[in-house]
Symmetry: C2
Subunit: 227 residues, 2 copies
DNA sequence: TAGATTGTTAATCGATTAACAATC
DNA sequence: TAGATTGTTAATCGATTAACAATC
């Protein structure tokens, strides 16, 4: 019960694509590798060793090699890893190329800030639309993203195969918006609201709250007297 | 080398305050407990069991009891934990009461969204000021937070004992802003910029990037075919 | 009382690190 | 060649879970 059957050695059938499930520890590091590799690439660096990657990201070379080998990315003795190939592999593995459209619910400060981020394109992500219930702002644009009526959301999700939703509404409305999206067939939800939301097992939820991140930092800083 | 000497059984000297170092796994759960407890309290619930907390936050009762016992918070057999006391203990342990002022650097979409969040007060956090280099917006207010000239930042950090800084500037300026704050004596930095920043050991950094959180979610959703 | 729930010890599980033969 | 660096196995470390006596 609650056991998610690990250890099943699911190789990807027929395609050469790496698509086995990775531990969340690795998944959290992958975007950081990608970020660094993109930067190296833009600087014209051709080869990089696990040692150098580890130094930069404050990891051990061992961890880096373990991670990359799990991904089936191979390097060369004495030279390390080819930056260009590694960057492309990481980009592919992160799966953003095949990623669907994203809907952002709530066109307040946080929702519009999210919509205005320029980093999405670099990662192969695209925002379909912002949704709000305030008639005064419906129809406006935030950096080329239209604000639509939240009533249009369910139909848009179905029609345009939107798989990801971002909840940027006040806590009191979060679960309601969540249910609406689940009902319409959303696959994953990024929750920016400061409240726990429940979904059925087949819908992934990731919490990303700035206040909680800040609070973690506060804790670390205030308990630092010992060092 | 790089070994941070764990296992040192540092009891708090003289005061009864719990201030030993907790593992980051626990620190990440604490704000979630607090959030839930605050909600229970507002609903008038008096007692809560580890089982119920675990159900709600999708943990095991065992983990919950371990976490709370590490915090020296005690419950009662048969009744569980007293909501009011537990809430206050968590609030105290998170240390936000003694937290200093916060500076936000970069008054773009993300910085202003951060400044406009209403959740800070509930957590005992206060934003001192927003900083930017754009003369056209200096002097403006975002929900009662003033936008000041970034040139004032070092002096403000020193004079008003600002211990926490939030980096909400473009990646190209992030390290520069970071260095400026470190130089002025900042204690912790929340980094929203999509680039790795380096600090000396005595300055804590916590990364919080929405794009990376979203990318993690994309990965989980796109590799879900197996379930 | 009987049953529920804690607090804590021991067992398990998983992630990180060390070590080293293979290789370029 | 000698030295550097990989890929992978084994060892270590830490976090989670199970189990159960104590207790209300």
């Amino acid at each position: 019960m609650g056991n998610s059957n690990p250890g099943s050695d699911q190789k990807s059938s027929s395609t050469g694509e790496t698509k086995r499930k990775l531990s969340s520890a690795i998944v959290r590091r992958l975007p950081r590798y990608l970020l660094y590799l993109q930067r190296l690439k833009s600087c014209g660096v051709k080869w990089i060793s696990s040692q150098e990657i580890a130094n930069f990201l404050e990891l051990t070379p061992s961890t880096v090699r373990q991670d990359l080998s799990v991904l089936k990315i191979t390097g060369f003795a004495k030279r390390g890893y080819e930056v260009d190939r590694l960057e492309r592999s990481l980009y592919n593995v992160m799966g953003t190329e095949s990623a669907s459209e994203i809907a952002i619910i709530g066109a307040g400060h946080l929702g519009t800030a999210f919509a205005a981020q320029e980093e999405f394109a670099k990662r192969g992500l695209h925002i379909f639309s912002l949704y709000d219930q305030n008639p005064n702002i419906i129809g406006q644009y935030v950096s080329s993203v239209e604000i639509k009526d939240i009533k249009d959301l369910p139909e848009d999700i179905k029609k345009h195969n939107i798989q990801l939703g971002v909840i940027a509404v006040p806590p009191t409305a979060a679960q309601e918006v969540c249910d609406l999206m689940v009902e319409a067939g959303i696959k994953g939800i990024l929750n920016l609201a400061l409240i726990h939301i429940s979904t059925p097992d087949h819908v992934e939820v990731k919490d990303a709250r700035l206040v909680i991140a800040l609070q973690e930092l506060v804790y670390r800083v205030t308990t630092k007297e010992s060092d």
